[in-house]
Symmetry: C2
C-alpha cells in the first residue's frame, strides 16, 4: 500500500468521510486579479470543508491558471498541512518521457496521487508513471469508466481481449490490478458497471465515483454497488454553505455504508 | 477550414517545411532560476529554427513550469509574432465542463489548435471542445495512433463498431471526419496504419506523425504512406545545431514529397 492510500484511509476514518472534493473552481482569466481571487476562493472552500472530506482532487481549472510552481503551491501547502491527500486529475495519457516528467513534477509539488488513462497502454506509456509513483510512495488512479453520457463510446465499447469478447471497462479493471493501481474511477451514474468492476477488483482497489449530485448519480446506488469514495465537486463548492453540504453528503454516505 | 489550418498551410509553404517542432524541453524544477532558463532555452531554439518549421507543439514539459498565464505568454507572443501556429499537446480527455474551460483558456492564450483523445467520446466529452474551437477559428487534432510501443494495447485493439469488427484507429479516423477534426496524429513508426488512416480520411485531413528520429520512425516511409507533417522534437532541440538539423530534416522530407 502506498503512502497516499494510507493517508487517505487515515483521514477518511478521522473525518468519517468518503468524500473526495473536486476543487474544480473556475474563474475567467479576463477578470481582474483572477489568480488571487481563485486562490482565495479555493482556500476558503478548503477551510470550510476540511473536517468533512477524505481527499482533494485538483484539475486543469486550478492547475492552468495557478501553475504547479506558483500560486498552486500555497493551496498544496494548506491541504497537506491538514494531512489531507491531494489527487492531480490530469488524466495523463502521453508517451513515456513526457509521462515520466509530468508525474515526477506532480509528486514533487506535493500531490499524493495522479489520475491516468489506461487506454494509452503500459509499454512506453504508463510504465514510467507507475515507476515514478513507487519512488515517491504515490498512487496511480486509473480511469475505468467515466461519468459523462458519451463514455459508452470508448469505456463502454466491446473489444477483443485475450481472444475473448469483453467490455472495455472490464479490460481496464484487470489492467488496474496487474499494473498495481491504487484506485480506479467509475462514474456513479453506472451502478451496474461499478458492481462488475468491484467483482473484478475483489475489494482490493478502491473505486472513486464522480457524478454524484450535478451529474445525477445516486449515493445509495453507487455505494451499494461498490463505490469506496464519492468524488463531489459542484454540489459542494457551488453551495451557499459548502460546509453544510459536505456534512450532509458525508452523513448520507455513512447511512448507506453502515 | 479553420484559421489555424490556413496559417499552418501558409507557413508550411513559405518555409517549405512540413515540420512541427515538439518543443518538449525539460529542466528540473530544483535547478536555480529554472523557469527563466527554460524560457530562454525555448526562445533560443525557436529563433534558431523559425525559418525551417511550419508549427510549434507545446507539451506539459513547458506548460506546467511556465504556466499558461505566466512565462509561457512570452513564448506564445514570440511564436505568433513570427506567424507560426501553436499546438497545445494536452491530449485532452475530460468531461464537458472541464474540456470547455480548458479549451477556452488554451485558445485565449494564443494557441491555434489543441490535441484531444477521441476515446473520451463526443456527448458530454469532446463536443464542447469542438464548439469552442469553432468559436475561435481554432483546430482540434485527434489522436488516432500514438508512436510508443504500447500503443497497440488501446489504439491497436480490435473493437466492435456499428456491428462490425474494426481496428480502434479506423474508428477514430472515422470520428475525426464526422466530428470535423483539423488533423489527426498517427505515429511515424506505423506506415501501414498511416496508409489505412489516409485512405479513410481521403486526403481531407492532415496527418501529423511523431516518432521520427529518436523514436525510430522513418521520414520516407511515413510521407510515402500519407503523413502530412512530421512532429520532431529531440532530434532538433537536442542537436548541437538545431537550425542545421531542422534544415536537414526539412530537405529530406521535401525530397520524398517531390
Amino acid at each position: 500500500m502506498s503512502i497516499f492510500s494510507e493517508k487517505l484511509g487515515k483521514i477518511a476514518q478521522e473525518n468519517e468521510s468518503r468524500i473526495v472534493l473536486a476543487l474544480d473552481l473556475s474563474l475567467s482569466s479576463k477578470e481582474k486579479d483572477f489568480k488571487k481571487k481563485l486562490l482565495e476562493k479555493a482556500q476558503k472552500v478548503l477551510n470550510d470543508v476540511r473536517d468533512h472530506v477524505a481527499g482533494i482532487k485538483i484539475n486543469f481549472q486550478l492547475l492552468l491558471p495557478l501553475g504547479l510552481f506558483d500560486e498552486l503551491r500555497f493551496l498544496i501547502q494548506t491541504t497537506t498541512s491538514y494531512g489531507i491527500p491531494l489527487i492531480m486529475d490530469c488524466k495523463l495519457n502521453d508517451v513515456e518521457h513526457t509521462n515520466e516528467w509530468t508525474a515526477r513534477h506532480i509528486f514533487d509539488a506535493g500531490f499524493g496521487a495522479l489520475i491516468a488513462n489506461p487506454f494509452v497502454g503500459f509499454r512506453g506509456g504508463l510504465d514510467s508513471v507507475f515507476s515514478v509513483a513507487e519512488e515517491y510512495g504515490g498512487g496511480v488512479i486509473l480511469l475505468v469508466y467515466m461519468s459523462h453520457s458519451g463514455a459508452d463510446e470508448g469505456y463502454g465499447q466491446r473489444v477483443i481481449y485475450e481472444n475473448d469478447f469483453r467490455w472495455q471497462y472490464e479490460v481496464f479493471a484487470e489492467k488496474a490490478k496487474s499494473w498495481g493501481a491504487e484506485g480506479v474511477v467509475v462514474g456513479a451514474t453506472q451502478p451496474k458497471i461499478i458492481e462488475r468492476v468491484s467483482q473484478i477488483l475483489d475489494g482490493k482497489i478502491p473505486i472513486f465515483s464522480p457524478g454524484i449530485g450535478f451529474q445525477g448519480g445516486l449515493i445509495s446506488e453507487a455505494f451499494r454497488a461498490g463505490t469506496s469514495y464519492a468524488i463531489v465537486g459542484r454540489t459542494i463548492y457551488q453551495s451557499e454553505n459548502p460546509k453544510k453540504s459536505a456534512k450532509e453528503i458525508k452523513d448520507k454516505i455513512n447511512e448507506v455504508i453502515r
